[in-house]
């Protein structure tokens, strides 16, 4: 599995690292869908081996705890956890 792209309004490069089983990750995807922005996501628990290690390494650069969801906006900033107000503000 690779990164899944979701079409929408271009608000820059928006990357969501998620888990398929995590409810907060699901809420984050729903919020991004609701905001109608274009984004990509990766369900890291569905990755195996080197693909998984590579994804964890990418997340760790933004979020040392490598927790989910981690949202990376334009390779400039990250929002860790489902922080609705912060996400809305960043993508307004």
């Amino acid at each position: 599995m690779t990164k899944v792209k979701v079409a929408g309004t271009d608000k820059g490069d928006i990357m969501l690292y998620a888990l398929s089983t995590c409810v907060w990750c699901g809420k984050t995807k729903k919020l991004l869908d609701e905001l109608g922005v274009a984004y990509a996501y990766e369900d890291v628990d569905l990755l195996k081996g080197e693909e998984r290690s590579a994804a964890v390494k990418e997340i760790t650069a933004w979020n040392p705890a490598a927790s989910f969801p981690t949202l990376v906006i334009n390779n400039e900033k990250s929002i860790v956890g489902f922080k609705e107000a912060e996400i809305r503000q960043a993508l307004a």
Partner: protein
Amino acid sequence: MTGGNIDEASVDRLYRQLDADAESGGYHLNPDREFTRSLVEGLLVNIDRYGYQACPCRLASGVKEEDLDIICPCDYRDPDVVEYGACFCGLYVNEAIKKGERQAEAVPERRGREMKEQKEETAGGVTVRLSQPVWRCKVCGYLCARPEAPDICPICKVPRERFERFV
């Protein structure tokens, strides 16, 4: 949410069991039924995937020994509920959230930091000789003095492997 082959009846069964265990042990599940059902579904996915109920909101390694601390209920549940009113997932909540007086919010990851082990040999400068070793449940803090830790924690029901020798 997670799709796959988890059926409704299994979700209901585990939900009822977790709820009964929580209430009998002084804990509460999140009152948001749909939210909690999704988490229970995640637990079932992980049981299916890894063979144990790894936290659905964390990335399990698949190696049980490495994941013991994040098998639900995780080692971080109690301190998170005390500090944030909910565990990392929001599955377990405090009284205020249960009653709807407060909402569960994003809880920062506690794993890998802050969990300082207190390794004092003596208490208050007094050395005590004990007739039995004392075992501590790493999940709920239950202590018991006996030759071996119990098979199942009588308070929070986690298995023996979640105990540590305390004294």
